[in-house]
Amino acid sequence: MSLLSVFDISGTALQAESIRLNTTSSNLANANSISSSHGGTYRARHPVFAPIFKEFGDQQENVGVKVLGIVESQTPLRREHNPNHPMADEEGFIFLPNVNVVEEMANMISASRAYQTNIEVMNSAKQMLMRTLTIGQ
């Protein structure tokens, strides 16, 4: 039954987009987490999406999306000279996360729009199924 698998497909997308929304909120929450060492500083995290394929004979059929993993951004950390800061290291530097707030906001809007789209798809599929169940009544 193809229509029931629409729920599975859109469900994987909702899951993936909510993970994306979660990482975005984590990035934004830690946008100002100052640290005194290079290694201890928060780095922006982003999920990596990949399509799920199902073998269908000799062909591949797409059945949703999955999150392969969450990678940390390789953008260099911001380093500021601020000797009066309580977190400053012995040379007077503080380290700021490499979170790009503008990029994160754009990501957030994109994720929430994609989430809404998949909800709409599920609603349409539900209507189609409900209508199918009334055949012959």
Partner: protein, 132 residues
């Protein structure tokens, strides 16, 4: 006169099947709206319906003996085509939100129409059976 539901329901039965399948394909496109390098796919509905009506989809098994189990009419990956995007994106994704949503809504409406037609046909039969 022998009565067959297959011929009575006409084109709407394979149409319903293909519409449901197309809904699944379009849902996959929309699920992968943010996946890098994902290529949007779609079914050429007219072509697929003609093949399904003739009972010879690209991968349909042919029954050569009366006792053969009739294979379910299905549409396989070979009937799926890649969509040409109107605008290319940097990450190689060819899913366009507005195009896919329009196609999905259109597909859903046409599915509902086929359901309505089939419903009407069953009501006609019921009227004939009851005779009132």
């Amino acid at each position: 006169m022998p009565f067959s539901f297959d011929s009575y329901l006409g084109v709407h039965q394979p149409a319903l099947h293909l519409r449901a399948k197309r809904a699944q394909v379009l849902a996959s496109n929309l699920a992968n709206i943010d996946t890098p390098h994902y290529k949007a796919r779609d079914i050429d509905f007219t072509e697929a319906l003609q093949a399904a009506s003739r009972g010879q989809g690209a991968n349909t098994m042919r029954a050569t003996h009366a006792m053969h189990i009739k294979p379910e009419q299905f549409i396989s990956g070979s009937d799926l085509k890649y969509r040409n995007p109107y605008q290319n994106s940097l990450d190689g994704n060819t899913v366009e939100h507005q195009v896919e949503m329009a196609a999905f809504s259109d597909n859903a409406m046409r599915y509902m129409a086929s359901v309505r037609f089939i419903s009407g046909k069953f009501n006609t039969l019921r009227t004939a059976i009851k005779g009132q």
